[in-house]
Subunit: 167 residues, 6 copies
C-alpha cells in the first residue's frame, strides 16, 4: 500500500500515534497557508477606518497567529515539537469577499514539515479577528483555511491545485 | 454611537484592550459553533473505514477540541479566562460535502460569553482532523467555521441568520 | 442505572465528554492524595544527607507539585478549569519503604471536586523526585498514588477504605 | 566521587540546577516506562464493556499521555526542552490485577535522555484513566510507575532489574 | 506577630506554600503597576520614527503584557489562578529617561489581589520591548518595576509612598 | 543601513515579525543577566532569618526563574523556541541595596542568542521574590534588570559597558 493511501497517524491497530520522524532527513522546510474571515461590508469598513485602530486589530491578530504557530505541538495532539526559525503572518483586506485574508508562512530546518504550524497560525489569527469584531458582527465566517504550498522533505514540493501556490 | 457600531476591543485611542466584564451580570451562557473539513471522497472513505481506526481519528480530534476550548484565553489575546462548566464536541461525516462536520458547545455561568471557546474548539478539532489525514490529502479545506447560536448575557439570544441555530 | 454504575465521562454514544457541572451546588471542597517514591536505601540516604541539598530536592518537588495542580485542566482532557484557593504539598522520608511519601491537599469553593488536582500534584512531585535522583537510581518506583479523602459536594465525604483518611 | 553517587541536579552548594547537557553527544535515545491503575473488578468490567465506550476511555488516556510527554519540560522543573521524534502509549487490561497497564515509549536524537518523557506520559495517562472512572471507583490506585529500559547516551543501555525490559 | 511581620507564603516549618484565600471575602480588586525601559536616546528615536513601525513595537509589547497577566499563576509558583475581568497596558515615551514607561492595570472581583498580575504584565511588556530593540541597543535596562496602587481586599487601599498612585 | 541601526523585528512595512534565524550558524551561545529586588532592610532581614524559611524563598524563586526561561518563546511574541542545554539562577543578598540580586545564565548550541531567556529568568525570579514578601513590603522595586554579557553568534562577545560582565 502506498504512502498516499493510509492514515499515517494510526498504527496497525488503528490507534492514534505520533509518526516517528527520527529517520527523516533534516531539510529546509517551508509551508504557506491562507484563510479568510468573511464579514458584512460595514464590519470591514469599521476595521479599516482609523489608522491606529485598524493597525491594532491587525497587529493583535498577527501576533496571536505567530504565537500560536509556536504552540502547535501543544494544541494538535500528534504534532511534533519543532524549532521554527521563522513565522510570518500577513493580513490584508479583500473588498470583494468582503473580509480579510490571512496568510502565514512557517519555516525550519528539520525532520518534519511545518504545514500544521502555518495552518494553526492562520486559524488563530482568524479567530482573533473574529473576537475583535464580534460585537458588531457575530455572523462572520472563517473560511477556506488551506495549505497553499510546502517545500522541502522527502515528498518534495507541493502546491495546492486550486491556488497559484506561495504568493 | 450604539454598542453595535464600534469595535469593543479597541479603546478610545484605537489600542487593543480587554473589554471590562466586571460590571456584567452572571448568567448561564451557551454558545454553539460549527465548522467543516472538506476533503476528497477517497479521504473520507479512508477515515470511515475500519471501526477502531475511524474511532481514534474522531476521538483524537474531539479531545483536541475540548482541550483547546479550555485554553482559549491563552490563545486569543483579548479573551478572558473562564471557568467553563461544559464543553462538548461532536464530529460527523457529511457525504455531500464530502467531508466532516465539527460542532462544539461551550457553557458556563459567568460574566462573559463563550463564543470564542466554541469557535476555538471547532477550529482546533478541524486542524487535528487535517493533521491526521494530511498524508493522503494535503488539499483539504477547513471551511464555514461560524457561530451557530448563543444564549444568555445582556444582548440576549442569537442565532446565525444562515442557519437553524443550535442543532 | 445508578450514578455509581456508569462512566460519567462518556455520553450515551460512548464518546468522551466533560461532565456538565453547571447545575452542581458551590460548596467548599477539599481533596487529599498521597503517593510514594520507593528507592534504594543508599538513594534515600543521599537525598537526606546535607541540609541545603536535601532542602532543595524536596523544595523543588513541592513547587513542581503545586504548579502542576494549577495546570490539571491543561493536562487531564476532561477536567474543568478550577479556581483553587489552596494547594499544599508535603514530602517526608519513610525509612521502612525505603523512600519518600508525598501528600497533597487541594481546596476550592466550587461546583466540582478537586481530586484530580490533588492526585496531579502528587504525581508530578513524585516524578520530580525521580528526576532529581535518577542519576544514582534509575530503578525507583512511583507507587500507591491514591486519593485519601474528599469532603464537600453532593456525594458527601469519602475516605479511602484502605487508609485512615486525611492525615 | 563517581557519577553514580551524587545528585546531578544539585550544584556544589546543594542548589537545584539543570544539568548542562551541552557537552553530551547526540545519539538516538529511547526510553520505555510502564505503570498500572489498580481497580475493582467491576470497574474494569465497566471500562471493557461496550466497544465504542471502551475505545474512548482508552483513546482519551492515550492522547493525554502523548500530549503530556511533549510538555515534560514545562512540568518537571529541571528537565530540558526536547524535540521528541516519537511518543507512543499503549493501554491494555490486566485481569489479574485487576486493572489497566499503561506503557509509554519516547524517542529522540539528542543530547539527553527521554526517561522523564516516558514516565510523564505514563503518569498522565494513568491519571486520565482515574479521572474517567472515578465516579464509580474512587479507591483506584496508580502503582508501579517505573522505567523499564533506556537505550542510547553515554551511560549505555539499561533495563530495570525487576523487569524483562522493553516489551 | 502581626500579619505585617511574617512571610505569608511560608508555613510554620518555613516551607513555601500557597496562602489559603478560601476564607477571604470577594471584593472588587484593582492593582496598577509601572516599569521603565531605559535606553540610548537614538534607540528611543528609532522606536518613535515611522508611524506604523512604532505602532507595531508598542502594540506587540502591549499584547504580550496582557497575555502574560492571564498566565501569572502559571509563572509565579504560589499565585492563585484568577478570573481577571480586565487587563490594560499602556506604553508611552519618557524623553527625560530616555526610554519607555509601561503601566498595567489588572482587575477582578475575587478573593485575592491582582498585584502580581499587574506586575507580570509590566515585566513581560518591558522584556518584549527589550527584545524588539536589542539588535540596536543591548545595554537597555528594565528598571523601577513596582506596584503603584491597589484597591479592594481586607487590607484596604494602598498607594506606593514614592508615587502619586494610580495615574 | 547597518545592522546596528534598524529594528530587526519589524519588516519593511513596519510590521512585527520573527527574525529568520534559519541562515545563522550554530554556535555555542551563553547569556548572563542580572536584576535586583530593592526592599526595606526589615524585609531583607525577615527573608534571611531562619535557615529553612530563607532556603525556601530563594529556592522557589530560583525554580520559577529556571522554568520561566524554558517558556520564553511562549511569553515573548517574537522569540524563537530554543533547546536550552543549561539554565542556572543564583540569588544573593545585597546588604547595601538593601535587597536581593538575581543572576541567570542560559546556554545552548543553536542559531540564535539566549539573551531573552536569561532576562526572562531574572524577571520571573524577581517577581516570585516580590510575591513571597509582598505581605510585609508592597513598596519593593524590581530594578536594573539587564544583560551582563553574551558570547557566541555572528556579532561576537559583548559585555555590558556599565558592568564587569559575567561574574
Amino acid at each position: 500500500m502506498s504512502d498516499e493511501a493510509r492514515l499515517t497517524h494510526l498504527d496497525e491497530q488503528g490507534r492514534a500515534t505520533m509518526v516517528d520522524v527520527g529517520g527523516k532527513v533534516e531539510t529546509e522546510r517551508v509551508a504557506i497557508a491562507e484563510g479568510f474571515v468573511k464579514m458584512a461590508p460595514e464590519t470591514l469598513a469599521l476595521i479599516q477606518s482609523g489608522g491606529a485602530a485598524k493597525g491594532d486589530v491587525v497587529a493583535t491578530a498577527r501576533i496571536a497567529g505567530i504565537m500560536a504557530a509556536k504552540r502547535t505541538s501543544d494544541l494538535i495532539p500528534l504534532c511534533h515539537p519543532l524549532m521554527l526559525t521563522k513565522v510570518a503572518v500577513t493580513i490584508e483586506a479583500v473588498d470583494t469577499l468582503p473580509g480579510l485574508r490571512v496568510e502565514a508562512m512557517a519555516r525550519l530546518k528539520g525532520q518534519t514539515g511545518v504545514e500544521m504550524e502555518a495552518l494553526t497560525a492562520v486559524s488563530i489569527a482568524c479567530l482573533t479577528l473574529y473576537d475583535m469584531a464580534k460585537a458588531v458582527d457575530k455572523a462572520m465566517e472563517i473560511t477556506s483555511v488551506r495549505l497553499l504550498s510546502k517545500t522541502g522533505g522527502k515528498s518534495g514540493d507541493w502546491n495546492h491545485p486550486g491556488s497559484d501556490g506561495a504568493r
